[in-house]
C-alpha cells in the first residue's frame, strides 16, 4: 500500500505528469490544458476529453519568456510561457482558462501566437457570487459546452454532464475525507504529500484517480506520516503553488502544515456541486462561484473560512506565501491580516517565486514565524 501511495504522490511530478495525457491521446482522445481553478473541468470530461492542469517549468531560467513578458508579471505565467516556448506543452490539443486576473486574460495573446494548441478559450467568470452572476455564469458555461462539443465532435447532454459531475464530486469527497484525517495530532500525510495527491487529481483521468484514492483511504486511516514536527500546526495559504517541495520546505523548517488554503489544494475541491439542481450548468456555476479565491471580492467570507479551518484543523497560525505579482492576493492581504488579527490568529506573509528559490531566506523568515507561534503556544 505504501508503494501505491508513493505512486500517487509522485503522479504530478515533472517526470510522470504527462503519462496519462499521452495514454489518453494514444487512445485517439483529446487532452485539454486547464490553466486555473475557475474552469469547469466537468464539461471537458463529459465530452470524453481529459482536462489536464497546466504547470510551468520548475527551472529558474525563463529568459525566452521574458522577451515577450513585461516586468512585474505573474511568475507562474512566465514559467508557463517558457514551457510553451520550449515545446513542453505542444502535446495539448486545447487550452482553456478563465479571467482569473488581468495577467491571465492577456496571457491568451502569447498562447495564441506562440503555441501549437488548436483551441484557446477564455471562459468569463464573474468576480462575485449572487443570483444574477450565477445565472450569467451558467449561460457562459452553456456557451463553453457548445465550444467543447464542436471541438471534441461530441454531444454533451444533461446526462453526460451529470455523470461527469458525479465523477468529479466523488473525487472531491474522497479528497475531503483525506483532509479530514489531517485534523489528527499526527496526520496520515504530510502537507507536501497532501498537495501532491491533490495535484495528481488534476493530471490523471478522474475516475482512475478516484479508484486509487478510494483504495488508499483505509490504509491512510491507519498510517502515520513521517514528519519531523507535529507542532506548531500551520495553515498554509497561497495560490499557483504546484511544487510540493515548497510545502516540504515549510515543514522541514519546523512545523506541520495541517491545512491549506490554496487553489492547488483545498480550494480546488472543497465545494461540491448541488447534484439535485435541475440545470447542471447552473449547479456548476453555483459551485465555481463559491471558490473563495482572492479574485472573488467576498474577502470577508474568505477570511471567515480561514478562521473556521483554523478551529477545525487546530492550527496555530496562517502562513501566506504570495507568489510575486499575484495581485488579487497581494491586494487582499492587509484586510485578511486585519480580520485574522481581530480573531486572534497569527498571520505572516512572504513573497515567493514560482520556482523553488530563495530557500535560505524563506527558511529564516518562516523559522522566525514558527518561533513566535511556539512561544505563543508555550505562553
Amino acid at each position: 500500500m505504501e508503494d501505491k501511495l508513493k505512486k500517487l504522490v509522485s503522479a504530478g511530478n515533472k517526470e510522470n505528469r504527462t503519462k496519462w495525457a499521452h495514454e489518453w491521446q494514444g487512445q485517439g482522445k483529446k487532452v485539454v490544458g486547464v490553466l486555473d481553478n475557475m474552469v469547469p473541468e466537468e464539461v471537458i470530461y463529459a465530452a470524453g476529453m481529459l482536462p489536464w492542469r497546466i504547470q510551468g517549468t520548475w527551472q529558474e531560467d525563463v529568459s525566452r519568456a521574458m522577451i515577450y513578458r513585461m516586468p512585474q508579471t505573474s511568475a507562474f505565467l512566465n514559467h508557463v510561457l517558457q514551457s510553451v516556448l520550449e515545446g513542453e506543452l505542444d502535446f495539448l490539443d486545447g487550452m482553456v482558462y478563465s479571467n482569473r486576473d488581468e495577467d491571465f486574460v492577456r496571457f491568451r495573446d502569447y498562447w495564441e501566437s506562440l503555441s501549437k494548441t488548436r483551441l484557446v478559450y477564455l471562459i468569463e467568470v464573474p468576480i462575485m457570487d449572487s443570483e444574477l452572476t450565477r445565472r450569467r455564469f451558467a449561460a457562459k458555461i452553456r456557451e463553453f459546452i457548445g465550444v467543447i462539443e464542436e471541438f471534441g465532435k461530441a454531444k454533451i447532454d444533461d446526462k453526460s454532464l451529470r455523470d461527469a459531475v458525479a465523477v468529479y464530486d466523488k473525487g472531491r469527497a474522497l479528497l475531503r475525507k483525506m483532509y479530514e484525517l489531517r485534523k489528527r495530532e499526527l496526520p496520515p500525510v504530510s502537507g507536501g504529500e497532501a498537495l501532491a495527491i491533490t495535484i495528481a487529481a488534476t493530471v490523471m483521468p478522474r475516475d482512475e484517480f478516484n479508484k486509487e484514492l478510494e483504495g488508499l483511504l483505509p490504509y491512510l486511516e491507519k498510517r502515520k506520516a513521517n514528519v519531523s514536527h507535529t507542532r506548531p500546526r500551520v495553515l498554509l495559504s497561497s495560490d499557483l503553488l504546484d511544487n510540493p517541495a515548497y510545502v516540504d520546505l515549510v515543514e522541514e523548517t519546523g512545523c506541520l502544515v495541517a491545512m491549506d488554503d490554496m487553489d492547488t489544494g483545498s480550494r480546488y475541491f472543497w465545494e461540491m456541486v448541488d447534484g439535485g439542481s435541475e440545470d447542471p450548468a447552473y449547479a456548476l456555476a453555483k459551485r465555481y462561484l463559491k471558490s473563495r479565491l482572492p479574485r472573488m471580492v467576498d474577502w470577508q467570507e474568505q477570511a471567515e473560512q480561514l478562521m473556521q479551518w483554523t478551529r477545525e484543523f487546530h492550527t496555530d497560525g496562517v502562513l501566506d506565501l504570495t507568489e510575486t505579482c499575484d495581485f488579487p492576493r497581494a491586494l487582499r492581504r492587509p484586510f485578511l491580516e486585519h480580520w485574522l488579527k481581530e480573531a486572534g490568529i497569527p498571520e505572516v506573509s512572504f513573497e515567493r517565486d514560482y520556482h523553488l528559490s530563495n530557500i535560505g531566506q524563506l527558511r529564516t523568515r518562516i523559522g522566525a514565524f514558527l518561533e513566535m507561534l511556539e512561544s505563543k503556544t508555550a505562553g
Binding site: P71, D101, E102, D103, L122, V297, T324, A330
Partner: protein, 428 residues
C-alpha cells in the same frame, strides 16, 4: 493644502498667466478649458466640504451627476503631483499594499487615506474599464472607509443581452445608492440632458480627431499629452459652458488646419498607454521635429480622442432607455471587448490608428503593474513592423516616479530611437 485646493490654485495661476501674457502660439480656447478645470476642482472641493456624495471611479461619470453626486477620477488628480509620490509610497507601504501594481491607482488610494483627496460616499465595484485590478482598488477604498459597496458584473461583448444585463445592474445600483447614500436621487431628465451633451462632446472630439490627421499637426503635441479629450460634461454643472469650450476649440483647430499652422514635422509618433509624468517626452521630441497626434490612454480607451458613438438602439430596432444607452456606450468601448478579441484585436486597432493618423513610429510605454495595457506591447510591435514597417520603442516604467526608468535613461533611449528612425527615413 489638499490636492483639490492645489489644483484650483494651479488653474487660477494658469488663467492669470494667460490673461497677463497671452501666448499667440497656443490655442485661445485653452483659457476656457482651464476655467472648466478650475470650476471642476472647485465644485469637488465644495462638495467635499459640504458632505455631498462623491463617487470615485463610477461606472458612468454623467450618471453620477444625474444622481446628484459628483464623480472623481482620482488617478487623474494624483498624477499631476509626481513630487508627492515618495510620501504616497510610504503610505502604501504602511497600509500593507503591494508596490508593484500600477502606481497612479495605488497612490490615489494612498492620497485618499492621507486626506489629500476626499473619501468616497459609495463604491461601485466595477469601473468603466476592463482592467479587473481597478475593482480591487475600489474594494480597498470601500473596506478602508467602510462605505456601502455595490457589485457590478460587467460583460465583455457587445450584444443586446449584454446591454440588458448591464442596464439592469445600473438600475439596481441607482436604487442601492438612493437607499444607502444621503443626497443621492436619480433624475432621468437630467440624465437625458447629459447624454445629449455627451453625444455633442463625442462629435466635437471626433471632429478634432479628423483634424489631427493634417500635416502639420494643427495642435501642439504637448496639448496631446494633456488629453484635452477628457473634458466631458461630467466635469462641471454648466453643460453649456463645457460645450462652448468644445465649439471654440474645434473651430480654432479647424481654422489653424485650414491655414496650415503648426510646427514643421519630420516624424509622427503614436504614443501608447502610459507616460512618465515625472519627465517630459517633448524635451526629446520637440527639438527633433517630432509630433504626437494621439496618446492612446485608458481609462477612456478612445484611441486618444476618437469616441464610439452609440446608435441609440437603431441597430436593434428600438430606442434605448437612458440606462441602456449608458450600457451601450460602456460596451462600445473597444477595450472592454479585448478579453474576447485578445491582444491581436488591440494590435489591429493600433495599426488602424497608426494608418489613420499617418504615424511613422510608435512609442509603447508599459506602465509597470498595468498588465492589461502593457502585456500586448510586443504583439503590437511585431504587427506594426510586419504590416506597416513601423518601428516601435517599448519602454517600461512607472508613471509617477523614476525607479524603473530614470529620466536620463528615458531621454537617452527615446532620443536614440527617434534618431534611428529619422536616419532610416533619410530625414536625419
Amino acid at each position: 493644502m489638499n490636492l483639490l485646493e492645489k489644483l484650483v490654485e494651479r488653474n487660477e495661476r494658469r488663467l492669470k498667466k494667460i490673461d497677463e501674457n497671452p501666448d499667440p502660439t497656443k490655442l485661445w480656447s485653452n483659457r476656457l478649458g482651464y476655467e472648466i478645470d478650475r470650476d471642476h476642482y472647485r465644485e469637488l472641493l465644495e462638495a467635499w466640504q459640504q458632505g455631498k456624495p462623491l463617487l470615485p471611479w463610477f461606472p458612468s461619470a454623467i450618471l453620477a451627476r444625474a444622481m446628484g453626486a459628483l464623480h472623481m477620477q482620482l488617478e487623474t488628480f494624483v498624477d499631476q503631483f509626481p513630487e508627492e509620490s515618495p510620501r504616497y509610497y510610504q503610505a502604501v507601504r504602511s497600509m500593507g499594499l503591494p508596490e508593484n501594481v500600477c502606481d497612479t491607482m495605488v497612490l490615489a488610494v494612498a492620497a485618499v487615506k492621507l486626506g489629500d483627496l476626499p473619501a468616497p460616499s459609495l463604491i461601485s465595484l466595477c469601473p468603466r474599464v476592463p482592467c479587473r485590478l481597478w475593482i480591487y482598488y475600489m474594494k480597498i477604498l470601500a473596506e478602508y472607509f467602510n462605505v456601502p459597496q455595490f457589485e457590478i458584473d460587467p460583460p465583455h461583448e457587445y450584444s443586446e443581452e449584454s446591454i440588458k444585463y448591464l442596464a439592469g445592474q445600473l438600475g439596481e445600483l441607482i436604487e442601492f445608492a438612493e437607499r444607502n447614500v444621503p443626497g443621492i436621487k436619480y433624475d432621468q431628465d437630467r440624465h437625458l440632458e447629459l447624454l445629449e451633451a455627451e453625444g455633442a462632446w463625442f462629435g466635437y472630439a471626433n471632429k478634432e480627431w479628423e483634424l489631427r490627421k493634417r500635416i502639420p499637426l494643427p495642435v501642439d503635441s504637448r496639448d496631446t499629452f494633456r488629453q484635452p479629450f477628457r473634458r466631458g460634461p461630467d466635469l462641471i454643472d454648466d453643460t453649456a459652458k463645457l460645450l462652448e469650450f468644445w465649439r471654440q476649440r474645434t473651430e480654432e483647430i479647424e481654422e489653424r488646419a485650414a491655414r496650415g499652422v503648426g510646427r514643421e514635422e519630420r516624424l509622427r509618433v503614436l504614443w501608447i498607454w502610459g507616460r512618465p509624468v515625472y519627465a517630459d517626452p517633448m524635451n526629446v521630441l520637440e527639438p527633433r521635429g517630432v509630433s504626437v497626434p494621439a496618446v492612446v490612454l485608458p481609462p477612456t480607451a478612445t484611441f486618444g480622442g476618437k469616441f464610439p458613438i452609440s446608435d441609440d438602439g437603431k441597430e436593434l430596432g428600438r430606442q434605448f432607455s437612458p440606462l441602456e444607452h449608458e450600457a451601450s456606450n460602456w460596451l462600445s468601448q473597444d477595450m472592454l471587448q479585448r478579453p474576447r478579441r485578445g491582444g491581436h484585436g488591440w494590435a489591429e486597432d493600433i495599426i488602424w490608428v497608426c494608418q489613420d493618423l499617418k504615424c511613422d513610429a510608435i512609442v509603447y510605454y508599459q506602465v509597470v503593474g498595468c498588465l492589461h495595457m502593457g502585456s500586448p506591447a510586443k504583439l503590437v510591435a511585431d504587427m506594426a513592423e510586419r504590416e506597416l514597417g513601423v518601428p516601435t520603442l517599448i519602454l517600461a516604467g512607472r508613471e509617477m516616479e523614476a525607479t524603473f526608468l530614470p529620466i536620463p535613461e528615458f531621454e537617452s533611449r527615446l532620443a536614440e530611437f527617434i534618431d534611428m528612425v529619422l536616419a532610416q527615413k533619410g530625414r536625419g
